[in-house]
């Protein structure tokens, strides 16, 4: 469904009075991978690994410096504006911090419906029906429609963020650290919701996370990123149990596992 080939993004380091580029930060440095329909691929890495830049390139929120991104066979880096708008409605993003990505002055109904008012023409009644439908899908009562974002807990806000993404019936969603700022007891619930929606709506996910426990829970395949490159990519279970690269091994050994019998292992 999505195929990324030799993707590059270099940010110039500007210095001095004339702001000449003194060098480049290779944020994404020649990476290639593909995601099959209805698959979840994890892009895992620490800060500065290039995982978020990769996501922004795929969603066309940043201009790539090289490479191709094929969506259903079409290179989205070389499409004209009209065609891009068409493809955009098939792609959505769910952000880490649901609070900062929700407009505090808009009611939940407007926030969720924003996507369909841009991408489709609908009557108010039809819009209402769609909003009710997605609220039900994310497990929120339809009475929430007339409230404002600040009236909700972190988990509920993330559900609203998800409702807002799925209302345009996307085929593909980039999930950018969607559970990182949530409390422990909420994280699993949101991951389960995302899993259910994937089945129900036949979605394809790219899951960006620094948390390998999240990768183990939801991603069938994983690409481990480090310094702008993919260090290792493959089936999650294989990579977790038998990593080939030293960096992946170090990353996996660094995870504190909630089991005191693993302690000696961790402190080694």
């Amino acid at each position: 469904m999505i195929s990324v080939k030799h993707l590059k993004k270099y940010f110039p380091i500007k210095k001095g009075l004339l702001q000449r580029a003194q060098g480049y930060v290779k944020a994404v440095d020649d990476i290639s991978f593909s995601v099959a329909k209805q698959e979840t691929l994890g892009l895992a890495g620490e800060s500065g690994s290039g995982k978020t830049t990769t996501a922004r390139l795929i969603l066309n929120l940043l201009k790539a410096d090289g490479g191709e991104i094929l969506f259903d066979g079409e290179d989205i880096l070389r499409l004209d504006r009209n065609k891009i708008m068409g493809i955009r409605s098939k792609m959505q993003i769910i952000f880490q911090d649901p609070f900062s990505s929700l407009n505090p002055r808009m009611r939940i109904r407007e926030i969720i419906a924003e996507g369909i008012t841009i991408h489709r023409h609908m009557t108010s009644k039809e819009t209402d029906k769609s909003v009710d439908e997605v609220l039900e899908m994310v497990g929120l009562p339809s009475g929430y429609k007339s409230r404002y974002p600040h009236q909700f807990s972190g988990g509920e806000r993330q559900r609203i963020g998800i409702a807002r993404a799925i209302i345009v019936r996307p085929e593909f969603i980039v999930c950018d650290e969607p559970v990182s700022s949530l409390d422990v007891s909420i994280q699993a619930k949101i991951l389960n919701l995302l899993k259910d929606l994937k089945e129900r709506l036949k979605l394809t996910y790219i899951f960006i996370t620094h948390d390998l426990s999240v990768v183990a829970t939801i991603c069938e395949r994983v690409a481990v990123m480090h310094n702008g490159k993919i260090v290792e990519i493959g089936d999650t279970r294989t990579i977790f149990t038998n990593p080939r690269e030293e960096y992946t091994r170090r990353l996996l050994r660094s995870i504190p596992i909630p089991d005191p019998s693993r302690r000696r292992h961790f402190n080694k």
Binding site: A188, T241, I257, P258
Partner: protein
Amino acid sequence: MSLLEVKDLKTYFFTDKGVQKAVDGVSFSIDPGETLGLVGESGSGKTVTALSILNLVDEPGKIVGGDILLEGKSLLPLKASDLTQIRGRDISVVFQEPLTALNPVLTIGNQITEQIMAHMKMSYRDAKERALLAMKEVRLKDSDRLFYDYPHRLSGGMRQRAMIAMALCLRPKLLIADEPTTALDVTIQAEILRLLVEIKERHNMSVLFITHDLGIIANIADKVCVMRSGKIVESAKVEDIFYNPKADYTKQLLEAVVKIPEDMRIA
């Protein structure tokens, strides 16, 4: 005798909207050389508990009941100047965000040196020597040069090492660590946690470790208190908490935590 004893501590916040019982009857004790893990979700009262021990609770918060004993002596009736002596010398603290806790206009070395001189009668030269030693102990590479560097020039992991050096340079009996690795990358977090365990064991220091992360708790705590809504719902040895939890809330937390399944863990 326990090093620290917290007895029926109550810290309330008096706001316009009413009284918020942030800490509501919390009791625990920490023995010398022991690590107590205080675990809970956001708003459970774990940080306010730590601030209460340090007597750093700000208005509108107030300690309204209970007692805090360090080596049998109550800290609550102490004058501000006596408390300042205890903080830093007997009890020190490492917070989550080292950049906000470090003074941006002082070099790393001078902050540590200043901390030492504030608590001990020592010449600048001796204090500097001791600061450099502390920097070496936390394995800040190139400490002779870093001594003259400012906090913003350091990476997150190095800053946290500098904070730990500052907290440990006076050999405190108790270290309070409040989510000290939450803002760090996982590989850096592991290095910092291993360092803390190593230093703790070398000096037989006690640690009160506050975190929301059950994985960290499992790997460093001897004893665990699980907090919720200002109360301790369960307190037990770390193995009992994980393998034989009693309270429903502890069970729910353990059930909910997102973890790598056993058959997917690296050997």
